[in-house]
């Protein structure tokens, strides 16, 4: 197959077929994929489906705690999870730059395969295109996913007093990418929070009826996601600064580079709006999930009049408005 991707790997002929068999089918190994020609055919049970798509252009392709492949699978799984769905199947399209290392491609595909194994989600159809050198930067991936909405869950109207939960420390993915992108030499272990959230939703099954809304704070970070929730619901959000989980090292690095963790992408965190009577129980369940020990109730829904404002109460009792991300932050973060 050689060491690097050639244009012929994307022409639909012999080389493409070798690439598919030796790299993609090897790692995505499942019957639905292997037995399909132009489309995967599968049965679904009764119920509602969720369907999502996302493209991944992260730079660098490999970062502490993950790579573009893991990010693509987790990103799609998480979009389904926050829609209240158990993820089932994923499709993936690769756009690869001519000359890209086949070893690196296999590493990326293998990490997608591992994520599938871990989560039980299957990649059942895909596509590969190769473009001339310089037409893309290495490799871009598009993934789509289908999931089955869990019983009892539907988005519900948000009301005053509902609580806002975040499932772990914020800004870790964005900070990790920034450190590598800016080639910063910092001590301490920085790792992207990139992970699949389907375990969390499994755990929360019995509380589904008490969860009003879920959202993953990816691009634009916690601040932007909360502003979207506020606008969507027509309510205000009152945050308590001391309650928001942010690792000390994340704060320090961002002070150095002038970025704000509130606006940095998370790739394995979720925001939940929960009925206040049940919020402690829901929090307890979430904290039992792997990597969710720092989950916290970070604020509540308030009536803020005609404007849907997100504001932060600082530990001295001061208040400041938290607007949505405005202008550039860190491009190609996912």
């Amino acid at each position: 197959m050689g060491n690097s991707i050639k244009l012929t790997h994307g022409n639909g002929g012999k080389d493409t077929s070798i690439l598919i068999k030796e790299i993609f089918q090897k790692h995505f190994n499942n019957n639905l994929l292997i037995n399909s020609l132009d489309a995967a055919i599968f049965e679904v049970g009764q119920g509602k489906l969720a369907f999502t798509t996302d493209s991944f252009v992260v730079k660098p392709l490999f970062f502490s705690g993950g790579d573009i492949g893991k990010l693509a699978v987790c990103g799609t799984i998480n979009d389904l999870v926050v829609s209240g769905a158990m993820p089932l199947y994923i499709s993936c399209g690769f756009i690869i730059e001519e000359g890209f290392s086949i070893d690196l491609l296999e590493n990326i595909v293998a990490s997608m395969g591992e994520m599938c194994k871990e989560t039980g989600v299957k990649i059942i159809t895909g596509d590969t295109k190769v473009v001339e050198k310089g037409s893309v930067d290495g490799l871009f991936i598009n993934t789509s996913g289908i999931g089955l909405i869990i019983k009892g869950y539907e988005q519900k109207p948000i009301k005053e007093g509902d609580k806002v939960i975040v499932t772990g420390g914020i800004g870790e993915h964005g900070t990790t990418i920034a450190i590598q992108r800016y080639e910063m030499k910092v001590k301490g272990y920085f790792k992207s929070d990139c992970m699949p959230l389907n375990k969390v939703i499994k755990k929360l099954g019995k509380y589904a009826i008490k969860i009003k809304l879920m959202k993953d704070p990816t691009r634009g970070g916690l601040a932007t996601a909360l502003n979207e929730i506020a606008e969507f619901s027509g309510m205000g959000i009152h945050l308590l600064e001391e309650q928001i989980p942010v690792k000390k090292e994340v704060i320090s690095v961002n002070q150095l580079i002038g970025l704000d963790p509130l606006y940095l992408a998370c790739e394995g965190r979720m925001i939940l709006v929960v009925d206040q009577m049940e919020c402690e129980k829901v929090l307890k369940e979430i904290r039992q999930c792997e990597e969710c020990e720092d989950a916290a109730i970070i604020g509540s829904i308030v009536n803020s009049g005609t404007q849907s404002i997100v504001f932060m109460e600082t530990f001295i009792g001061g208040k400041r408005i938290i607007g949505p991300l405005d202008g550039p932050m860190l491009p190609r973060i996912c």
Binding site: Y182, E183, M184, K185, L256, I257, G258, D260, S304, I309, F311, M312, E313, T314, F315, I316, G317, G318, K319, R320, I321, G323, D326, G327, P328
Partner: protein
Amino acid sequence: MNKELIRHLIKEINIMASKEIKIMEVCGTHTQMISKLGIRSVLSPNIKLLSGPGCPVCVTEEKYIDTAIEMLNNYDVTIATFGDLLRVKGTKNCLLDKKSRGKNVIIVHSPLDLINIAKDDKKRKIIFLGVGFETTAPIIALTIRTAFEKEINNLFFLTSIKLMSPILHYILKQPENQIQGLICPGHVASIKGASYFEFIAEDYNIPAAVCGFEALDILGGIHYLVKQIIDNENKSFKNLYKRCVRTQGNPIANHLIEEVFQISHGVWRGIGKVENSFLTIKKKYRNFDADNNFEVKIESQRHISKCACSDILLGNKTPRECELFDRVCNPFSPYGPCMVSTEGACAIAYKYWEEMYNG
């Protein structure tokens, strides 16, 4: 415990503030903390906190970034900088734009790291961008002196280092701003000593306090100043940041500054020429001065007449009183200096939506 004390201070400040009181801070970190903590929202509207020229990046001319970019364009050099300068725009571009287009731009936490980088690759010419006040001057001086002693000849410095006391004299001589109290910058004071700021009370009869950067430090400072303004005929000065600031400062750091730099006139963005307000590299070390080694031509500065930055820096206006603020001027397309860096008064007011919150 701290929280109780903080509540108590806030209460007392608000009781004392029966009339309008204008207090200025001249350190970007103070400006940022005041907004981040929401200090204005817990104090009486009578307390007006104004932000002076405390952010060194903001008051650095656009020409400076343009010069660095031209050096990158015209010579085979690496630009080394602190992270906060990366996204500051010159006339057209910022260094981050150049970095993403493949130019050599590296971030360092200390310029001293560059000694080894320069030694390891003698063919690589590195220019460090040294921007700051008296706080950053000693480490830059130490790097220059070390490079001199180790006979390193591929490391250069493009500096724009400013001095706090000349600009404070300049501000306090403006009668219009009616500044009644000054929060002195804790970082500068740790180098120059608390005594560096005694002149504020002695020469201008304006109370002043050196403050740290925690909520209690800043509120303690405001409390001291408000009490002085209300009660005392003769205003005094106090060092409230004794855990970091000595009266005479740091003698080693000051010796380094004197060894490597000389005092010169200089132009502050948004303000203009201020006499004896810059530190430039002495003749003995001129081989390390990037200006001497890489000649570039920079076109003259654009001038925006409606920009209120000079009034904001001098304490005559607040960011929202500028007619360009948030209409055409924002951190992504700044017109004036205060919108440029993350520590600029306008950029902070923009980010934290200051004065917008009434609840």
